[in-house]
């Protein structure tokens, strides 16, 4: 009986979070049942093949990029010791704090034909344009590079959390079967971290799919640019929603394919003894350092320096009280949203673990699809939903109480928080789920047999064991909310601005220097919690290792 209620509440909360997606599904259904094909037909004939091609290239490229960058850095910083490893282990999150389009702007500024690099080349060698070959930064390759640099921390963070929990005995079993540490990594650690890697990559890809700013700036036409072109250019919102529906269908197929390929395999390990790290020396240590520093330098330090330069140029802003108000708005919003979203995610992910019925699993999966859909589309879906509820409320209250409360849901921060929940739930759920998969089910059972109810078990057993994953989720969602733009633009109330909106408005008018201070502030606001939380993660890792003595096998 109680189980049924629990199931019902899970499904209900998942469905509520998935409601804005319903609007898209509805548009698609409309199409199926004798809808208007003219827009889609035109698009099919002219641009969609290209959208698909570009989107695919972009996704494959970004997937390869984030996996290489994320997994290598995660493995090096967890299982090896080398100079700078501690600093790097949290600093590698930083690229995430950088909005992708800002990074895109900085690199374009530097590497474009009119930028300092090419100008210098021309001036030094007396070349003019066309005399020399230089990679075109505004290209699909450039977009892949920039998105990989900015998004690899997803893979890094989530994979790192599982590497930290990986059992020593499993790796030792590999070595007793004749595998070198490197082979152990490839054949055991990597496949075992697969849910995490896939999760991180899926998030990066969903973000890529939903990205508008970067690809648009780089002139790469993708499905998402197509959606907006259809909406803005053709003035056809339904057509745009239909395209979004196709996107959604593609994402669902992808996810299903991956789930299916995992089959029955499980990833929890029996012995929780964490693995001993390798002490790297000499050339290997330098190489490891280099491998970790490169993505940090290109993904964060260079763009941040550029931002800093702009900020110095526009120093007046720092004395503006408006600007500090923006900062506070952004920070508070990100914090509240992150806590809210992660709480929801834990509730859903844990519920799914406890009651893995088809119904619950499907509805939770559905609630987590929002990340792949461009934020603006979600915002519009939500708008339709919330305003119609609001209108009903207003109608009722005016009729019965002769009182007009105004737009309670759509006109307040509620709408924003709701939108963030829909959009970023996936980030949190997937991160938490990757962590949960590492906890043996017998832990749950051992706790319940002692008379604890599921929620108590969650508090006593799972949350402590999940700490790295939950903190990771908080960081990811927080930083994402800080950067979030389209939904914030559409749904925020009057006179409420955030750093992201300010940076975007400036950058959108190609006033890059003015975009510098808010972008830098965004990075800094994101930075502080990132450092604090990753400290906490590091500490929980060390706790587990405290009494443990290592075999510092020199690799």
């Amino acid at each position: 009986m109680q189980q049924r209620w629990r199931q019902l509440s899970l499904v209900a909360s998942a469905l509520v979070l998935g409601l804005p997606l319903m609007v898209i599904v509805f548009a698609l259904l409309q199409l199926l049942f004798g809808g208007d094909f003219t827009t889609l037909q035109h698009l099919w004939q002219t641009v969609i093949p290209e959208y698909i091609q570009h989107s695919l290239i972009l996704m494959v490229g970004v997937a390869v990029g984030v996996i290489i960058l994320g997994v290598s850095t995660a493995w090096l910083t967890t299982s090896c010791r080398f100079p700078g490893q501690k600093l790097l282990s949290w600093a590698l999150l930083l690229p995430l704090a950088m909005p992708a389009y800002i990074t895109a702007y900085t690199y374009t500024g530097m590497l474009d034909y009119s930028g300092p690099v090419q100008t210098l080349l021309r001036d030094t060698f007396g070349w003019s344009y066309g005399d020399y070959w230089f990679p075109q930064i505004r290209s699909i390759g450039g977009a892949i590079a920039v998105l990989s640099l900015v998004l690899f921390p997803y893979v890094y963070l989530i994979t790192r959390a599982t590497f930290l929990q990986q059992s020593a005995t499993t790796l030792e079993a590999g070595r007793s079967l004749g595998l070198s540490p490197w082979q152990c990594f490839l054949r055991i650690a990597l496949p075992l971290a697969r849910p995490a890697i896939v999760t991180g990559t899926t998030l990066a890809l969903m973000e890529t799919l939903a990205d508008y700013g970067t690809v648009q700036y780089f002139g790469v036409t993708t499905f998402t640019t197509g959606i907006f072109r259809t909406w803005y250019g053709l003035g056809d919102l339904t057509g745009a929603l239909q395209l979004a529906g196709l996107l959604l269908a593609a994402v669902i197929t992808l996810i299903l394919l991956e789930r299916w390929s995992r089959k029955q395999a499980r990833y929890d390990q029996r012995n929780p003894r964490p693995a001993a790290p390798f002490e790297l020396q000499g050339g290997k240590a330098w190489l490891a350092s280099l491998v970790c520093w490169l993505p940090l330098v290109f993904g964060f330090l260079l763009p941040a320096l550029q931002l800093a330069a702009w900020s110095v140029e526009r120093w007046q802003v720092w004395t503006d009280s408006d600007f500090w108000q923006l900062t506070w708005n952004s920070f508070a919003l990100a914090l509240v949203a992150a806590l809210l979203v992660v709480t929801l995610a834990v509730w859903l992910a844990y519920g799914r673990r406890q009651l893995p019925t088809k119904l619950v699993r499907t509805s939770v999966a559905f609630a987590g699809l929002g990340y792949a859909i461009p934020g603006l589309v979600i915002a519009v879906g939500l708008l339709v939903l919330l305003t119609s509820i609001d209108n009903v409320i207003i109608q009722i209250t005016t009729e019965w109480f002769d009182y007009n409360p105004g737009l309670l849901l759509s006109g307040t921060l509620f709408a924003l928080l709701f939108a963030y929940a829909v959009r970023f739930l996936s980030v949190a759920i997937q991160t938490v789920q990757a962590g949960l998969a590492e906890i043996r089910p017998s832990m749950d059972e051992a706790a319940r047999i002692h008379g604890y109810r599921p929620l108590q078990v969650l508090r006593l057993i799972h949350l402590p064991l999940l700490r790295p994953s939950v903190l990771t989720a908080v960081i990811l969602v927080g930083v994402d909310v800080l950067k979030e733009l389209p939904a914030t633009l559409v749904l925020r109330p009057f006179d409420f601005n955030t750093l992201a909106v300010r940076a975007y408005e400036m950058a959108g008018d190609e006033r890059l220097a003015d975009a510098g201070p808010p972008a830098l502030m965004m990075v800094m606001v994101g930075l502080i919690p990132v450092i604090l939380l990753s400290r906490a993660m590091l500490k929980s890792q060390q706790n587990a290792l405290k009494e443990q003595d290592f075999v510092p096998v020199t690799a």
């Binding site: 109680q2 189980q3 029996r270 012995n271 929780p272 003894r273 964490p274 043996r440 017998s442 832990m443 059972e445 051992a446 706790a447 319940r448 047999i449 002692h450 008379g451 604890y452 109810r453 006593l460 057993i461 402590p464 064991l465 587990a544 009494e547 443990q548």
Partner: protein, 372 residues
């Protein structure tokens, strides 16, 4: 009086497979039950169903008269008041030994907890280990902590899944006695899975053998050993070999061991082909005996050697002999049958079912088995 634990024609499925089939068990309050059975026969699955981790496909589970599991209904595990020692220990890696043990004592004061932890730790031979983390313990030590954790809250029913498997013989025996005492003192009913028949015999009030999901017999350990109701039980418990014979006259049987006389044969019709159980201690080495064979293999067993002997008729049997009387492999030996109990089955039930998915069917054995 109501039984504390009652399983009623229980069936449990994992995926498509029927893992537990038609199991009925009764345990009175305070009794200790013991499940034996080959690896993979469904013991753990049965315990998990009792604990409430596994839905039942048909039949029911009752605790103190109240149905807790039925096909459409599974009471939540935390409401059952059951303790469990998991086969893989399932210690909480983030909690110390003391925190692990006191985990289930939800309503106890800190002092009570401390006291109980101290008491249990010294009972299991690990005093002073309060502050350790599970990964700082050896396998056997972890297992003992798991045991202590299950005992600490004094559950009304305790399920133990091979709780002593990682312990050395001496400790295991001592602990079995301690635990039995503790269970009896604190009036805890227990169901124990073990692979150690000695342990089962030593601890259990009731015992049973599971085979491919079915519980073949559920009686006292003595009955299990001396009056097995089923060939599988006879075969599984105590190293038996089944031989063929034919009853020739009332109380007499022609067999590879020669003519055997036994009161339990009196009820069997003359001419019936039967199979009967021969345990190593049923055959005594005797240089004078006419029954002779060749030693095929010798195994040192501490106090005894276990010899595998091929009789002249080609039949292989086992026998024990004190280990300082070294008999060489290949040498001849005389054997004297010395049956205290003769366990006889209908001969056509002699083949063991070999397909894992095929359940053994229960045909009643022809003569009612008896003990002398």
């Amino acid at each position: 009086m109501l039984s504390l634990l009652q399983l009623d024609h229980l069936h449990v499925h994992l995926g498509q497979n029927a893992i537990v089939r038609n199991v009925s068990v009764q345990l009175e309050a305070g009794e200790i039950g013991c499940l034996l059975g080959p690896s993979g026969c469904g013991k753990t699955t049965l315990l998990r169903a009792i604990a409430g981790f596994q839905q039942v496909a048909s039949g029911s589970i009752s605790l103190a008269g109240q149905t807790v599991s039925a096909p459409a209904f599974t009471q939540a595990p935390e409401k059952r008041g059951i303790g469990m020692v998991f086969q893989d220990f399932a210690l909480f890696p983030h909690l110390t030994v003391a925190e692990n043990i006191s985990f289930g004592m939800r309503h106890a004061s800190t002092r009570e907890k401390l006291q109980r932890v101290d008491e249990l730790l010294s009972r299991i031979g690990l005093p002073g280990y309060q502050k350790r983390y599970p990964h700082e313990l050896s396998g056997g030590q972890q297992q003992r902590i798991a045991l202590a954790r299950a005992l600490a809250p004094r559950p009304r029913l305790l399920l133990l899944d091979e709780p002593f498997s990682s312990l050395d013989a001496e400790l295991r025996e001592r602990l079995a006695v301690e635990v039995r005492q503790l269970l009896k003192n604190e009036q805890i009913t227990a169901l124990l899975v073990t692979h150690d028949q000695q342990e089962a015999f030593a601890m259990a009030d009731k015992a049973g053998v599971m085979y491919q999901g079915e519980l073949l017999q559920w009686e006292t350990p003595y009955q299990l050993y001396h009056q097995p109701r089923h060939q599988m039980v006879a075969d599984f418990v105590g190293h038996g070999v089944l031989l063929q014979g034919t009853v020739t006259a009332s109380g007499s049987m022609a067999s590879p061991l020669g003519m055997l006389d036994h009161p339990s044969l009196e009820q069997v019709e003359s001419g019936t082909p039967v199979s009967f159980l021969v345990r190593p201690d049923d055959l005594v080495p005797d240089t004078e005996s006419r029954l002779r064979g060749t030693i095929k293999a010798r195994g040192f067993r501490g106090a005894h050697n276990l010899y595998s002997v091929e009789l002249d008729s080609g039949v292989e049997v086992l026998t024990l002999s004190p280990s300082h009387e070294q008999l060489e492999v290949g040498s001849e030996i005389g054997l004297r049958p010395d049956f205290d109990h003769l366990v006889v089955f209908a001969a056509d039930r002699c083949e063991l079912p070999s397909l894992p998915s095929q359940a053994p069917s229960f045909r009643p054995v022809l003569p009612k088995t008896q003990s002398a």
